[in-house]
Symmetry: C2
Subunit: 219 residues, 2 copies
């Protein structure tokens, strides 16, 4: 994939070797999650709202109720959408060099409201397919009223950067003789057994498939 | 603990029964994590930066290099610091009622730079104790130079709100006869085995204790 040059605000200022601007890295970080933090300015002060997101091609989407302040306030204004996966705690031989392993994407842009009903429906289907493949077709169709009550925002990935830290501690040379344990405590997001809703139903429905992409890969 | 009344910006606008303003809930959400997203305004646009945080009493702290743009830019200005734990995917009987289970805290305020060296050192120790109890005392002392190279910001918890969703799907009455599986796919953050740094050392150092509070409680 071609890389896009960093803009003034996506250029990572420090520790440049952790930064990346290529599309594959960006897609990989985004496709590994479902939770983002959207920042926008409301009444002159910054607000950071957690919400679900999904990616389609070169755009990222998020949605909410038509009554949501966060959704209404972030339409057609500058937004910063950040996704972070925390992969571990890096335990160094000095307090100073402790760190975290993570994968993070930061996207700047203007949020656009989807207005076309077909485009909205297709996007909601894409979201569901990304969470639970095959489920959309098992569910009853989404109604026109439900679609109307849902606002979907999208933003292009044109202005984005990725920052990734992996590996062990980077210690000062003079600390290498230390007898303190050093290394990484790796973190993992995984899924516990499904918890069915406690309602009597005729028969036992087929359990859903939850997308593997959401969980930490095996090490 | 006494609860503080919501301000204009912390008052949760929708689905009020998910909102809380009491200190115990706030402390519990903050103490269950180490990663936050800090939002601030830089050059007129919003920026959301992921970083580690820790809580001491009625304040939250985060830090970075003295060369960090995110740290320098967010001193003495309005900040929104958000912490979110993603606890599960809620699979409903219609696409519309799908949701996520989560615990989230949103804190508004002005970031204050710690300048007193003793206060900075005590705060770094508190951070380390929160991540790996007992480790601070095993490490060599932090030097004056390292302390100088570290900027620590703090912000009071005065203006904060908590939002929590738990439990199964809330479906429309007319969908309750659906034969689609409904319930919760619970997510969990856990720790894999420690990965020691690959350096020859005399003897095998005692492995660190990583704080349990960072991981999902048993269900």
């Amino acid at each position: 994939m071609p890389s896009s040059p960093p803009s003034a605000r996506t250029r990572v200022k420090r520790i440049h070797d952790r930064a990346s601007y290529d599309r594959d890295s960006l897609h990989a970080v985004l496709d590994a999650g479902m939770l983002c933090h959207v920042g926008y300015i409301f009444d002159g002060y910054p607000v950071v709202t957690p919400t679900l997101y999904w990616r389609e091609g070169e755009a990222v989407y998020w949605h909410g109720s038509s009554a949501s302040r966060a959704i209404r306030a972030s339409e057609d204004i500058d937004v910063c959408l950040t996704v972070t996966h925390l992969d571990g705690l890096v335990l160094a031989r000095s307090a100073f060099h402790h760190s975290a392993n993570y994968r993070s994407a930061m996207i700047f842009g203007t949020a656009r409201l989807l207005v076309d009903a077909d485009e909205k429906m297709a996007s909601l289907k894409a979201m569901m397919e990304g969470l639970s493949p095959g489920r959309w077709d098992e569910l009853r169709p989404t109604t026109a009223q439900e679609l109307k009550a849902t606002r979907i925002l999208s933003m292009s990935l044109d202005e984005a950067s990725v920052k990734i830290r992996t590996g062990g501690p980077i210690d000062d040379e003079e600390d290498m003789g230390s007898d303190v344990w050093a290394g990484v405590a790796p973190f993992r997001l995984s899924m516990d057994p499904l918890q069915p809703d406690e309602i009597d139903r005729a028969g036992t429905p087929r359990p859903p498939r939850v997308s593997d992409r959401l969980f930490s890969p095996p090490r």
